[in-house]
Structure formats: C-alpha cells, structure tokens
C-alpha cells in the first residue's frame, strides 16, 4: 500500500497490553527500580556490549510476557530515520564502536521504558506517580492533579500525531493544496480547540 489510511501515533510511547506474566504481576515500584537501574547502567557504561546485552534481555522479557516481538519491532519504526542519521554521523565522526554504542543504548533505553509501560495499566502508573508526588502536598500542590495532567498529556500525543494528517486530508479533499507550512497554523489552532474541548470535558465531569 502506498499510504496507510489514517496513520496513528498511539503506539509511539507504548500502550498497555493485558496479560498475566510475572512482569504484569510484579509490583510497580520494583519494576520501576529495575528499569531505571538498567537504564542508568546502559547510559553510564558507554559500551556497546552492555547495551546489546540489555537490548537482548528486554527483547527476551518482552517475548516472555507475551507482548509480541513483531509488534514491538514495528512500533520502533518511527526511530528508523534517527537511527540511520545517528549511525552515519557517529561512524564518520567517532568510529564504529561509538556508533554501535549510541544506537544500541538508545534502542535499549526505549525498549526498557516501553516494557514498563506495556505491562502496567496507565491508571497504575498514575497511582505510582501520585504516590511519588505526595510530598508536594506540603507545598500546597495536589498530587492527584499532577497525575491527571500526566495522563491527559499521554492521551493527547496520539491525537496530535493524527492532526497534521487529517488536516492534509481535509485540504486534499477540498482540492486546495496549501503548502505544508500553511497547514501548521491550522494544526496549532485545532490543537488549541482540542485543549478547550478537553477542558470543558474535565469541568463537566467534575474533575477540577
């Protein structure tokens, strides 16, 4: 197919895949510590073998949790251009070992965080965040509102990815062909409209 109908961006940050694997059942704090620790090791080691090891481990864990490795590989596709650019640049500038390290550690960090996000339902993640932010109560901040803001933000990302495409469709359907740059303004305007509707929905549902 030349072009997909309505491309979607909601897989970019990962979405929850229901399941009953050990990782699904593991308490959030433990999972988060493990993932964070692994990320820190990868980022500080600066060695492509460590990154490769971490990447292999995450892939194995993902497969063990029934996340479907094929789907995972597909969801990394938006990274492709970046990976190519980074590889090319570091190959020329810093040699193959550094290039391998940069690219592999990038992939490892992305897949690790995605493992967490794919095996934990969003409300649980938000609960964890709210708990983490609870000391802020002392400063007069309501941690529940921080949780709400974060979940709204995550929900908005796929919508925003779709905006430009749907506007391009709309322009095409009217046989007007504005320059892509001309579509940026309507896209931002549509974004503000979307924020307004979200605000009304929040207010109407008493989630103030």
């Amino acid at each position: 197919m030349r072009r997909r109908a309505r491309p979607r961006g909601d897989d970019l940050l990962g979405t929850y895949v229901p399941g009953t694997s050990p990782l699904h059942r593991c308490p959030l704090w433990l999972k988060a510590l493990l993932v964070l620790g692994a990320c820190l090791v990868v980022m500080t080691a600066r060695d492509w073998r460590v990154s490769l090891g971490a990447l292999a481990l995450t892939a194995a864990a993902a497969a063990a949790c029934g996340l479907g490795v094929r789907r995972w590989v597909r969801s990394l596709r938006p990274l492709l251009l970046l990976v190519i650019l980074l590889t090319a640049y570091h190959l020329v500038a810093n040699g193959p070992a550094r290039a391998a390290d940069v690219v592999l550690s990038l992939l490892a960090v992305v897949t690790l965080t995605r493992l967490l996000i794919s095996t934990t339902p969003l409300p649980r993640l938000i609960d964890g965040l709210v708990l983490l932010c609870s000391p802020l109560c002392l400063a007069g901040v309501d941690p529940e509102r921080i949780g709400l803001a974060v979940s709204l933000m995550i929900r908005s990302v796929p919508w925003l990815f779709g905006v430009l495409t749907s506007l391009r469709d709309a322009a095409a359907a009217r046989t007007v062909r504005p320059h892509p740059v001309q579509l940026v303004t309507p896209a931002v305007i549509a974004t503000v409209d979307y924020a307004h509707r979200t605000g009304e929905a929040l207010a109407a549902r008493g989630l103030e």
Binding site: R8, D10, T15, Y16, P18, P121, L122, P123, R124, D127, E144, L148, S151, L152, I154, R155, P158, Y194, R197, T198, E200, A201, L202, A203, A204, R205, G206, L207, E208
Partner: protein, 244 residues
C-alpha cells in the same frame, strides 16, 4: 443508585451575552423556565442557543444577567457543587473520553469516590458490562465505533451517579440500531434527564418539550403539541421576529 428524586432546573430572566468580532452577541435572552419533568427535550434551529441553555446548568456558561438554579445551587458561583449534581454528555464523545481505554476512562470517574484500586477496576468493569461493552474494556478509544464511544462517554458520566443527566444531542452520530439502544438505556435509568436534540423521535419520547428560537425560549409544553408546532414553524417560518 439515587432514588428517582427530581431537581428543579430553573432560570429566571437569563441573558447570556458574549463578545463577538463586531461587538457583543446575545446568545440567550430573557429565558424563564423550570424543568422538573423526568425527561425534558429542548429543540430549536442550529445556533438558536440550545447548547448554551444546557451548559448554564453546570456552570460551563455563566449568565450575563438573571438567575440560574440547579436544584438549590447557583452553578455560576458553585460550579463544582452543580457539577456533582449534573452529569453532562457532549455531542462528540471523542472529546469527552479523557483516557486511552474505556476501562481507564471510567476508573477516572470513580477515582474520587473509590479509593481502593481493585475495587475501582471492578466497579468500572461492572459499568461497562451494564452497557454491553465489557469486551471493549482494553481497546484504544480510537478503535471504537461512534456508537460504542457514545456509550463509553455515557458510562463515564453515569459512574459518578449524578442526580440529573444533561445530554447535548446524544444520538446525532449514532446509527438506527444504536439510537434504539441508547433510548432503551435512557428509559431504564432512574435519573431526571434534560436533552437537546434534532432527532424528533427522541424528542417525542420526552415528557416536556421546550422550543428555543433566536436566543429565546419561545414555547414549552407537552411533546405532541410542541413538536407539531416546531415542524410547522420549520416549514412556514417562526412566529415573532422574521425567520431568516
């Protein structure tokens, strides 16, 4: 669930004026009403002010002058209180669903009332089951059909068990089958309902109908008479000011 207690949705000489590009625009003018029927339908032309009237009752719109009461509450001064009495369902369900999946969205509604996480998930599933959506619980809302989304939006509002439901054109995006299903669901609910609609079959199922025209509530009464009049006016021009 609440007992089928009725609140009064009351307006006295309410005017809503907003700032337009060429000076102020009057969106509602001198509206007097008291809706206490089990189901009240508001009908009127596009741009007549129906949505604005509905939004008054949960404080999404504040009157420029006049008095609004939702039960005993002034929604302009105490919007949060008013919103806990009134559940509002928007026309476009996509903008009302705030979380990525139906289950998460309903859990969001329950967050305030139900502290325990497992309990919350259970109750959310129970609501989805009631609306026949349990097998969609974990789907992305982007994958649901229009009708399914409308039902999720309704479930999320019902989950906070409001006393009054306010629905802005709830059937517009639905097919015939889903329209019938939503009607049945509304008929089975204990809550008092106020809805705006262009679907005259739905309006005919109300106990009381109000007609809004050019920012004024021009007539109200039993559905048969009102809908007959409304049809007549649509075809032959509205009374009072010249119809465009």
């Amino acid at each position: 669930m609440e007992p089928p207690h009725r609140e009064s949705l009351y307006c006295a000489d309410v005017t809503v004026t907003v700032e337009g590009p060429r000076g102020p625009v009057t969106v509602l003018e001198g509206v007097d009403c008291e809706f206490t029927a089990r189901r009240t339908a508001v009908v009127g032309l596009n741009g007549s002010g129906k949505s604005t009237l509905l939004r008054l009752f949960n404080g999404l719109v504040t009157p420029s002058s006049g008095v609004v009461r939702t039960g005993n509450v002034d929604p302009a001064a105490f919007p949060r209180h008013a919103r806990s009495l009134v559940g509002f369902v928007f026309t476009d369900p996509a903008s009302q669903i705030l979380m990525p999946t139906p289950l998460e969205d309903i859990e969001l509604s329950l967050r305030r009332g139900v502290r325990d996480r497992a309990e919350r998930t259970e109750q959310a599933m129970a609501w989805l089951r009631r609306l026949g959506l349990e097998d969609r619980a974990h789907h992305s809302v982007f994958d649901l059909s229009g009708g399914e989304r409308q039902l999720v939006a309704l479930a999320a509002v019902l989950a906070v068990e409001p006393r009054v439901l306010v629905l802005d054109e709830p059937t517009t995006l639905l097919d015939l089958r889903n329209r019938l299903r939503l009607r049945q669901l509304l008929d089975g609910l204990p809550q008092q309902q106020l809805l705006s609609t262009h679907d005259l079959d739905l309006a005919a199922s109300a106990d009381h109908v109000a007609v809004v025209h050019e920012a004024r509530l021009i007539d109200q009464g039993p559905p048969e008479r009102m809908l007959h009049l409304y049809r007549h006016w649509c075809e032959n021009g509205f009374p009072g000011k010249t119809a465009a």
